[in-house]
Amino acid sequence: MSGPALRLALEIDGDGAHPAAWRRAAHSPDQLLSPRRVARVAAAAENAGFTLLTLDDGALPPGAGPDTVGRIGAVERAAFIAASTSVVGVAPVVPLTYAEPFHVSSQLASLDHISVGRAGWVVSEETRPEAASVWGRPLVDGALARARESRDGVEVVRALWDSWEDDAVIRSVATSRYLDRDRLHYVDFTADTYTVKGPAIVPRPPQGQLVVLGHPDRVPGGQLDVALVEGRDRSAIASGVAVAGTPRAFAEVEVALDTADATAEERVADLERHAPWSDRGRLRHIGSAAGLAALLGELTGVVDGVRLHPLVLDEDLPELSRLVLPHLFERRYAVRPLPAATLRTHLGLDRPANRYAAAAAQEDAR
């Protein structure tokens, strides 16, 4: 069956989704964090036709033991990538468990300005207790407390993005006023454990609100634009989408493809000697490019897009680029992003009205 075309997202953290992915990378470890590599991966993904790149992150180093790898902050990488690309969307993972929501709001709004409206945000959590001692903050203990921090954090970040109306900069030479202070708003947000005054120090993002992605069991669906839906098969994903209640839903898909040198099975087995590719209950395809294309084709009509997590970027991205994406585009199972459009536009999401401007307009109408 065929439904509306999919939007394709790619997770590009590190060397791939497998914790030992670096062992099969086409470069030595000391090249992973170089600007050339960060730019090269982004360019390859943009050229392939992905709509969105996501960058995983957290306070703790990824991997364990000999597979512990270095990681540059996702916001910094996203900004660098935004300046080295022109069409693809870019969404860093930023957890709010310990971070300052005011800083997160500024960083993400800046990313949207830098990318001229191509920015998103994957809301996540710091689940391991060691993250508290990295931040030097009291442990946020348990799933409920973490969900509370995410919920409050997203709420205040979104409020801060609206705290400047779009036309707050008036440059009124006659009155010497650069700003119209009536178009700037204190958010006066009261969270469970803190308060934030506002307004933001960054003007409203070009998209009004960045595209907010997350897992609906951890962030309330009403706060998300895109639910990232897990499920081992099509029907599990379909029921996940049904309960998410978000404007858009993307399926999480883990991918290992056959290459000229080794089958997907062999590649996975090689890495499993070092560390397990833990099962997060996601759809997983280990096999041929044609098989993946068929699987994704079956997801049209079920989800609005997919986020691919390739086993090893250096091995799987070329196969995706050469065999999978062209097939999806040819069959109209998926579409490329349009030039000169925002990420919201790519995803068919409207630019949201400003909550404060809307409130003021209502006030005026009375």
Binding site: V75, F80, Q107, W135, Y178
Partner: protein
């Protein structure tokens, strides 16, 4: 002006270092001119950074303010405001520049060391060793209202926190051995076993325990900048900084006195006296002739000090709301009101308003100045005005006598405000042998001709250059 004989000065081989401060929030940035561009459009940041790089500048700086400025509880609406998060913007510029240093102003009061140290390291790696950090502090609860912790810090503790913050940040930056990460594709481990140390710190301000996520950059770690002008701030710089910004760059004697004071403090802190670069902030206004430069300055000041801005600046001095008065009329008749500064604006604190007002009255009467003309003539102004040749002679004199190591230029117009300086002043400086003709290094530390980071100097005091 006569040329200084280069052999007859204390530092005949000294070179001037230039930085550019994309300042963002102030009344010096002219926004009323048709050539004035957006303060948030990424193309303008790119344009200024690339122009500075064309002019072989050492660094591109971004400021920071963590709350929109207010006057009497209302958002200040006369000046340019609204700017990007510094590190985020600089990470983007790392992708479109190749040599210029990228310096972020980041606050130690409302950040946590592991997070900020990692963000700065990320910038340092993405720029291949071009990152700098201008360390600033805040003490007021008014700014704290935007943060989880609120206004928790006493004024006296802000430098204590900053110093402990730096200690932790450096421990994080130094936790990876050089070459900890393998250069071999078939390495048994991503990082050499034992080459990464856990960082544990317990102190009055911070209690952290972490496994740092990033190796060192090609310059070791980010270059440290500082801008405090109080005795406390200068001592902090003497102990910790690689570069100090100052407000002492207009008058030669004042600049030299400041530099001598810093050198004394450096020696007291056990550092060589040439261990710190002194870069006063300045505006530079260039004309083909002295008259043209002065005429340009007059025009710029009128754009900067609009009638409303003049009333605002005078209002702060008088402690009275002067809005609605006539800026082109005489000075207010009232005596100034000496009020407690509630810290809400972050405004310049005026020590003795009565004395300042008395001086203003005297000079305004003598020159028949209006209030606006008085503010322009006597208000907080800084900058060098002249022809390329005249300015180059003057700057050569400053740097060869050790009064400054360079300047941090604040363009009055975005994005074209640096063009004259790069196209006209830089060649004049090069002709005089006080400015580089090409980048000789790739890192910010190399541009500034600095030694290894303070924590990397072991038994011998390794110098990068003689």
């Amino acid at each position: 002006m006569t040329r200084t004989d280069p052999l007859d000065v204390p530092r005949p081989d000294a070179r001037l270092h230039l930085g550019v401060f994309f300042q963002g929030v102030n009344h010096w940035t002219v926004w009323s001119d048709p050539a004035s561009g957006s303060q948030i459009d990424p193309a303008n940041f790119r344009r200024v950074a690339q122009t500075a790089e064309r002019g072989l500048f050492d660094a591109f700086f971004l400021g920071e303010g963590l709350r929109l400025r207010e006057v009497d509880g209302q958002i200040h609406d006369l000046d340019v405001a609204g700017r990007p998060d510094a590190i985020t913007q600089l990470a983007a510029l790392a992708a479109v520049t190749e040599r210029i240093g990228l310096v972020s102003t980041s606050n130690t009061t409302f950040n946590e060391p592991a997070d900020l140290a990692r963000r700065l390291s990320g910038l340092d790696l993405l720029s291949d060793g071009r990152a700098g950090w201008n360390v600033v502090t805040t003490d007021n609860a008014w700014t704290g209202a935007n943060f989880r912790r609120g206004g928790y810090l006493d004024h006296a503790d802000r430098y204590r926190r900053a110093e402990e913050f730096l200690t932790v940040a450096r421990a994080i930056w130094d936790s990876w051995e050089d070459a900890a990460v393998s250069g071999a594709a078939d390495a048994p481990a991503w990082a050499a076993p034992g080459a990464v140390r856990q960082v544990r710190h317990q102190g009055p301000q911070f209690d952290v325990d972490l496994a740092p996520t990033l190796p060192r950059s090609t310059q070791g770690h980010p270059v440290i900048f500082q801008a405090g002008d109080s005795g406390e701030g200068r001592d902090f710089a003497a102990r910790n900084a690689d570069v100090i910004f100052s407000a002492h760059g207009n008058d030669f004697d004042d600049a030299l006195a400041f530099a001598d004071d810093l050198r004394r403090r450096l020696r007291a802190a056990g550092r060589p006296e040439d261990d710190l670069r002194i870069l006063p902030g300045t505006e530079i206004i260039i004309g083909a002739t002295e008259e043209e430069a002065l005429e340009k300055k007059r025009w710029i000041r009128l754009q900067q000090v609009t009638p409303a801005t003049a009333l605002g600046i005078a209002g702060l001095l008088w402690g009275i709301d002067l809005s609605g008065r006539d800026a082109d009329g005489p000075l207010p008749k009232e005596d100034p009101v000496v009020a407690e500064n509630d810290g809400s604006f972050g405004a310049r604190r005026i020590a003795d308003p009565r004395q300042v007002v008395a001086e203003w009255r005297e000079k305004a009467d003598a020159n028949r100045w209006s209030l606006r003309e008085t503010v322009i003539a006597l208000g907080p102004q800084r900058g060098h005005v002249g022809t390329p040749a005249g300015l180059a002679d003057k700057f050569a004199h400053f740097v060869r006598h050790g009064a400054v190591d360079g300047f941090n230029v604040t363009p009055y117009l975005i994005p074209d405000g640096l063009d004259d300086i790069v196209d006209l002043l830089v060649p004049a400086l090069q002709e005089r042998g006080v400015y580089r003709t090409d980048y000789t290094g790739t890192t910010l530390r190399e541009h500034l001709d600095l030694r290894e980071p303070l924590t990397h100097r072991t038994t011998t005091d390794r110098r990068r250059t003689g």
